[in-house]
Symmetry: C2
Subunit: 260 residues, 2 copies
DNA sequence: TGCAAACTTTAGCCAAAGCTAAAATATTTC
DNA sequence: GAAATATTTTAGCTTTGGCTAAAGTTTGCA
């Protein structure tokens, strides 16, 4: 699209510019499609990307069922069936009627590329544009489908090639490697362990805010003082000697890695 | 789209997360459309935006002809006719069969909003991500359709609310005001005048590079030493005493405002 | 003025992605 | 192991935004 877009100027009444436009060279659909396929391979439609990411999120390496995808994308089951067939033709998934779809190698790569974009963009929005947790997700969701690989790499450089986003989720490398995450929910730690918060699984804004206010963010090192059997409350001490009592949902959402 | 996208985590084999998804609440098309129309008003399609911007670029306040739009967007004339009708129904243009379309007030606002986005994004890409002139336009073209108003304003703040992009083109304000540009091509200046370069109408990358290398960029103040009748060459002196001889196409593309 | 060239519109198609309703297949339960 | 329930697929439609070919207008030139 937009093979020759002369933006440049013409503020208000002074149109002009029409001179520098050059022969439009009309392309028909099939030629355009061919160019797209060979030269770039990535202008996948927004929808295609959404499905691939959904399957990855739901199933990882396994198979995602029609209903799961339908729920995840808020799309009718029949539409999912239709699209999964399409994705198979495109080579992104292996699909067996009535038994869901799993990503092929190519689908997997594509998923990780989108995840990389998403997490880098979220990092930028949160750290440099002053976005809040509630604003950031939707914006990143739209942007990840619009940016090019060049943009992604330049942004990564701008951000200092971060390995994790502000949630603590790992950012896949350009080569499509996502380092495995060996962290566990805080609730599964044991008293006496020293741990580093690795991520906070999102969704709940108030929770993110609560944790943020207390400095309980990815990277923070804590010592687990007590895991109270009676109510599952976890008592931790931070590096400044501050004591925090975390209960119920919090200890399931805060993930940490053992470091001692 | 994507009403409940739980990205968060599930690196590789650990899917999970499916718990925090909540009821998907399926929406049918008409309800979704209604929400879209009232609550936001802006999720105009990419295409719609492209047409509006094209008309603005081509015609400003006047009417853009089918063929002009067709050429600008590299789309068949028949498709343009179709879309102009649609845009009229949507209230963005006034359209008369065989005589082209001109923007309504609303269309004009929309155009300026897109231009604001485009120019802010270009500024960011050039100044902070190290984009080159040739890379920047296409990327901005895609991004301007994906970002929200919130993003636009945060970006503007990040950039220090610039009044012009790196080409020197004015950036419309949030309120949709585009200050008029009283600059003229350098070729129309007169010997002895002191001028400030206001913009360089783009399209030619080598030209932009050439000028950039010599510091002849927007903001630079020059003294016009001579306008040579015989070949139209303009001789200018920059603030450092450097002398530049500019001929033919250059003196038409470099715009400057008189300041003395 | 009148016709040929240039431009625009109409008509009829196509593909991507959605939807609903109904039919088919799996799974669960008694 | 058979019915009841849940999930999935098929069939048929819709909208958006393209395209081509053919028909209709306007315009430029003799």
């Amino acid at each position: 699209m937009a093979l020759n877009q002369s933006d440049s100027g013409s503020p208000e009444g002074s149109p002009a510019a029409s001179s520098s436009i050059g022969k439009p060279l009309m392309l028909n659909a099939s030629i355009r499609r061919a160019m797209t396929d060979s030269a770039q391979a990535h202008p996948l439609s927004v929808s295609t990307g959404d499905y691939i990411k959904a399957i990855w999120t739901i199933a990882g390496d396994g198979a995602a069922l029609t209903k799961e995808v339908s729920g995840h994308l808020a799309v009718a089951p029949a539409s999912v069936t239709n699209m999964l067939g399409r994705l198979q033709t495109m080579g992104f998934v292996e699909y067996e009627r009535y038994h869901g779809a799993s990503l092929t190698e190519r689908g997997h790569e594509e998923a990780l590329r989108l995840v990389r974009r998403h997490r880098l963009i979220e990092t930028f929005l949160l750290e440099h544009l002053g976005y809040t947790w509630e604003e950031v997700h939707d914006e990143a969701e739209k942007l990840e489908h619009a940016v090019s690989d060049v943009f992604t790499e330049r942004l990564s450089e701008f951000l200092g090639h971060p390995g994790h986003d502000p949630h603590g989720d790992p950012i896949p490398t350009r080569e499509g490697i996502l380092q495995p995450d060996d962290s566990k929910p805080l609730g599964e730690a044991e008293a006496g362990q020293k741990v580093r918060i690795s991520k906070v699984s999102d969704e709940s804004i108030p929770m993110l805010d609560y944790l943020g206010e207390r400095g309980l963010v990815p990277g923070r090192v804590l010592t687990v003082r007590e895991i109270r059997d009676i109510d599952g409350v976890v008592v931790v001490e931070d590096a400044d000697g501050g004591i925090h009592h975390l209960g119920g949902p919090l200890v399931k959402s805060v993930f940490a890695q053992r470091i001692g």
